[in-house]
Symmetry: C2
Subunit: 283 residues, 2 copies
Amino acid sequence: MNGVTADKKIKRNHRIVYISQYLIEHPNELVSLSYFVDYFDCAKSSISEDLDFVREVFEHNELGVIQTISGVSGGVIYYPQVPLAQQNQLFEEIAHKLKQGKRILPGNYIYVSDVLQEAKLLNGIAKLIATRYQGKGIDAVMTIETKGIGLSVAVARYLNVPYVVVRGDSSEAEGSTISINYISGSLQTVKKMALSKLSLTPQSNVLIVDDFLRNGGTVNGLLSMIEEFDCKPAGICVLAQNADQEKQTLPDYVALLDAQIAYNKETGNFELQVKKGNFFDAM
Amino acid sequence: MNGVTADKKIKRNHRIVYISQYLIEHPNELVSLSYFVDYFDCAKSSISEDLDFVREVFEHNELGVIQTISGVSGGVIYYPQVPLAQQNQLFEEIAHKLKQGKRILPGNYIYVSDVLQEAKLLNGIAKLIATRYQGKGIDAVMTIETKGIGLSVAVARYLNVPYVVVRGDSSEAEGSTISINYISGSLQTVKKMALSKLSLTPQSNVLIVDDFLRNGGTVNGLLSMIEEFDCKPAGICVLAQNADQEKQTLPDYVALLDAQIAYNKETGNFELQVKKGNFFDAM
């Protein structure tokens, strides 16, 4: 191998490292091939070859799909994937964490949100959720304050779309708002939620994401809000639901976890039991 | 070049692609070399060579530093970096966005938070903030609900630490809480903030992150909260501050943007002016 060939190889290896990191850092974003061509000052055919190699490695390792879109406004899009082994490990880690600490609060309120505070778990969960909805024209991720915000932000990052936070108190929303009333919880209390008019573009496809589904009142409120903004719901996804709780009538939704409060005869305590939810059914 | 050598090269290229994406996806995380050794079923020396190459490419492209920590509990940590050209582009994009829409709300309230709703801007800003505090033993990122949560989540992701959200209303925090009173805004009203006792481990180094610094009352509240939890403040960083507004006495803080309301004689309107804040001074 002469010096010129060796130099070529190094340059090529340099490019595949750069391209790999760039795609990982820009999931669900259409990247023009000319970005890489300009960055490396090389031929488009070289970049295409590099992309072919990176694509193969990503697919071989279940890291996702690199799709090429031809034409003037074309380029490549990277759709992430969570390898099956990682999915199982993620579920084990969540289940392990949910075995620790006080999980059942007064009023049989199940507490799971701390799972979403940890960077690693949050990202794993968010990436998994994003893989289900990517490539389906989602324009925004919506949640209601406060505990679902972290998850929405993380899902929105992988989907490369904005996130929208509906406020529970219209006085704290900014500028002019649209408010709706909704029926919350098993006590059937009427609550109000509000969203700044500028937060959501009409005709958007909106993915609802939240931490926990109890009786579904909040989700129905968010669905009304989406309608008020002339938008369309594109899916409802929650980290966990209380499998035992009676629900309001809801469109199809998916939950990563089914949580249940079970009596442990041996310890005489009520304990939280967690299993995989219907999110995993069709996967 | 014979078949065996070619095969070796392909395997090596395969590894450098995988290692690159893995480090990018796991910023500020100590990754054991044996993870890669096991994954590829290859010699540790091969992984070390691969890491040397990836390190060189990352440094050459201002993507950050890959640090090797030797010893039994050693491995590699990837500290991200935002290339200078990207930093400037990011600032231009933010400034451009802040020129659009209604930015000055009643009470001279400056509205910037929508910048943090866009996945791309949010990540750029968060990565930049993280680069300032990484490697300094930050244990958690703290904010107060609601508008700073997105930024905190994104910064915490890059720092690989949990984020903690202080609630404005103790009744909505979960489990037992610690509450404090603080003086909010120029009207000197007394407000309350609360944090679940389990949310923050004592002795943590806590980075405060928020969207906007007005008179500093909220930040002083968060500092008191950190003290109540026997923790230490490790820094205060906001996206923007109102440069004209009088502030409470505060420890050193950094702002990415200085915002000012200026009268435009030609249009007869008040307009928002934005320039780089002291975050960029020492960079």
